[in-house]
């Protein structure tokens, strides 16, 4: 389906509306606190939607999606810090570089099927983190600090935070459109076939190894850029933050909560989870037990609601299936 035809579908405009709300509400109200909370929501939506390309479409669990985010952050911060590259070029290089790496490694590890792939993604996190800790230009385990002068080209720190927020929302919008475009393409159909039955898909002529590597690579691009934005914003990166396993875990929980394989559900799940998390982190009792809550939530979904939120909505209101992807 071409891009032009996509614009005729109502769902295209629903995404546009969501982006508009994300941009306008905090900006018009000049609400900095809301902006920070929505920035995290946009980050969660980006990570979860891209994870969903693997999980929901191709049926492959990626426990290590955080690697894309962390590597993107490292490449971007490194280029800005050591070579004085402008932010836009660094972000693009991070996205393209991580995507290319994912394609290269994907062609190798995606020869592993199903559960074995899932296990090897756990190993990838360990491997990449060990690399970051030992690679001297990236500051080892101490990490890299950016000086505050990096915000000057964006018009000073206060304005830069708004610019970075809008860019993050842009990345979120692109993620949603990417999920949608892939789902309505022949490529997406091939992925869904792989998710249903990989052998049957291969027999019917789906080039399964190539498609899997392609979707793995595609799911790396926007998280890498999001990582670049995130760590540029905090002006500091170190291995334990960049490859924080809880973030890729939360992306999984979010995708399952919203309903794997759906675009709306994953976005909705990410937003709800971020709100819940914000509440839990500020409460005294729960702030140490964030992982426990995430785990309990995931267990309940897996055991009792494998379809997630969207599965529930679809079954209660079957007509929504025609509008919401």
């Amino acid at each position: 389906m071409s891009l032009l035809r996509l614009t005729r579908r109502p769902f295209f405009w629903i995404i546009a509306l969501v982006i508009a709300i994300f941009v306008l509400v905090p900006w018009l109200g000049n609400d900095v606190q809301l902006r920070e909370s929505l920035l995290l929501a946009a980050l969660y939506i980006t990570l979860a939607s891209n994870l969903n390309l693997m999980l929901g479409y191709a049926g492959y669990i990626n426990f290590g999606s955080i690697v894309f985010f962390g590597l993107g952050g490292y490449i971007c911060v490194w280029l800005v810090n050591s070579y004085n590259w402008p932010l836009s070029a660094s972000l693009l290089t991070a996205g393209v570089g991580v995507s290319a790496l994912a394609l290269f490694f994907g062609l190798g590890i995606l020869r592993l099927r199903g559960a074995f792939f899932a296990l090897s993604t756990i190993g990838i996190v360990e491997a990449v983190q060990a690399f970051a800790e030992n690679f001297t230009p990236w500051g080892g385990s101490a990490g890299v600090y950016l000086s505050s002068s990096i915000f000057a080209p964006l018009g000073g720190p206060a304005r830069a935070l708004w610019v970075l927020y809008f860019m993050m929302v842009g990345v979120m919008g692109l993620s949603l459109y990417l999920s949608y475009a892939i789902k309505s393409s022949k490529f997406g159909l091939g992925l869904l076939a792989i998710g249903q039955n990989e052998d049957a898909a291969a027999i019917l002529g789906v080039p399964t190894p190539l498609y899997k590597a392609m979707v793995y690579s595609a799911s790396a691009f926007l998280p890498a850029i999001a990582g670049g934005l995130y760590f540029f914003k905090s002006a500091f990166i170190q291995p334990s933050d960049a490859f924080d396993l809880s973030l890729s875990t939360e992306a999984l929980v979010v995708a399952m909560l919203g309903g794997q394989g759906t675009v709306t559900g994953v976005a909705l799940g990410a937003y709800l989870y971020e709100e819940l998390r914000g509440y839990l982190l500020t409460s005294q009792t729960f702030s140490n037990f964030q992982l426990v809550i995430a785990g309990a939530l995931l267990l309940l979904i897996v055991l009792f609601f494998p379809g997630g939120l969207m599965g529930f909505i679809y079954s209660r209101f079957p007509r929504t299936q025609k509008v919401l992807e």
Binding site: A115, N134, T249, I293
Partner: protein, 287 residues
């Protein structure tokens, strides 16, 4: 040269313990096609069991073995009923997610209580000297205990009625049910044994190295490498895989920084999976 040899021998001693851990993983995997992602945390639970009994209560470290074994078994049976029972027969990815979520909860509770500080259990045993090198007594005893426990598992699986039932269920669950084996109970006991093995090996590792609540990830990865080397669902292969991994670790430790060891093992994991999808030491019908 002698240093490398000593390092390799020590690696094999530790490798036997890794093999024991991997036996727990592969037992569950082979019998019900469920990959237990709480494995690493159960290893850590064994370490903390040791710490609690030996350091806090002052008992001799090796007396912690029976309580850890029993506690691990009970934890495994509980794990079966909470997270595995509804997943048997469903796509393996679902059990991966359900055990993963249990793992998250356990790690979350663990870090909430103990933080991520380093714990250490002192075991002073006389070592055995070979020229300038001394093999620590704890390493030797851990290797012996691992071998004994592995042998008892073998005897259990091949010589007892219950063990034969476990193998029957692994072979064909429906046929086992038809001849009157209570397969659900057998599955629960299998998960119990698998987790007990993980916990005991964790306890043994705890006598060798310091540990944190998050050490589980690394040991879990080692167990996967060992399982892949040994062939899935093949406990005896797992023990040989453990020895092979220990051999490798011993051979590379003198030359490579420690933080790269896991990376090398991970690369090995992927390469072996691609080259020998059935495992290096596997033979048909090993269970």
């Amino acid at each position: 040269m002698l240093g490398v040899l000593a390092s390799i021998i020590d690696g094999v001693l530790v490798g036997l313990v890794y093999g024991l851990a991997a036996m727990g993983l592969t037992l569950i995997w082979g019998v019900m096609d469920v990959i237990n992602l709480t494995h690493g945390t159960m290893i850590v639970a064994g370490m903390f069991g040791l710490y609690g009994l030996a350091t806090a209560l002052g008992a001799p470290p090796y007396l912690a073995l029976p309580p850890v074994l029993i506690g691990g078994f009970l934890a495994g049976v509980a794990l079966y009923w909470v997270a595995v029972h509804r997943m048997v027969g469903r796509p393996p990815l679902m059990s991966l997610l359900s055990t993963f979520s249990i793992n998250l909860m356990l790690v979350g509770i663990g870090t909430g209580i103990w933080g991520t500080a380093l714990f250490n259990v002192d075991v002073s045993l006389p070592g055995i000297s070979m020229g300038r090198y001394t093999f620590p007594g704890a390493h030797i005893l851990a290797a012996i205990l691992a071998a004994v426990i592995a042998a008892s598992l073998y005897v259990f699986l091949h010589r007892t009625r219950l063990g034969k039932a476990v193998r029957a269920v692994a072979d064909n669950r429906e046929a086992a049910e038809l001849v009157g084996i209570p397969t659900t109970r057998v599955l629960a006991i299998t998960v119990g044994c698998g987790v007990a093995l993980a916990a005991v090996s964790g306890m043994l590792i705890g006598t060798l190295f310091p540990f944190t609540i998050l050490s589980g990830d690394g040991y879990q990865l080692k167990s996967f490498v060992v399982t892949v080397l040994g062939g899935f669902g093949n406990p005896l292969g797992a023990l040989m895989g453990g020895v092979a991994l220990g051999l490798l670790e011993g051979a590379i430790t003198p030359f490579v920084p420690v933080s790269w060891t896991l990376v090398i093992e991970f690369v090995l994991f992927v390469l072996v999976l691609i080259a020998f999808p059935g495992g290096v030491f596997s033979r048909r019908g090993a269970m």
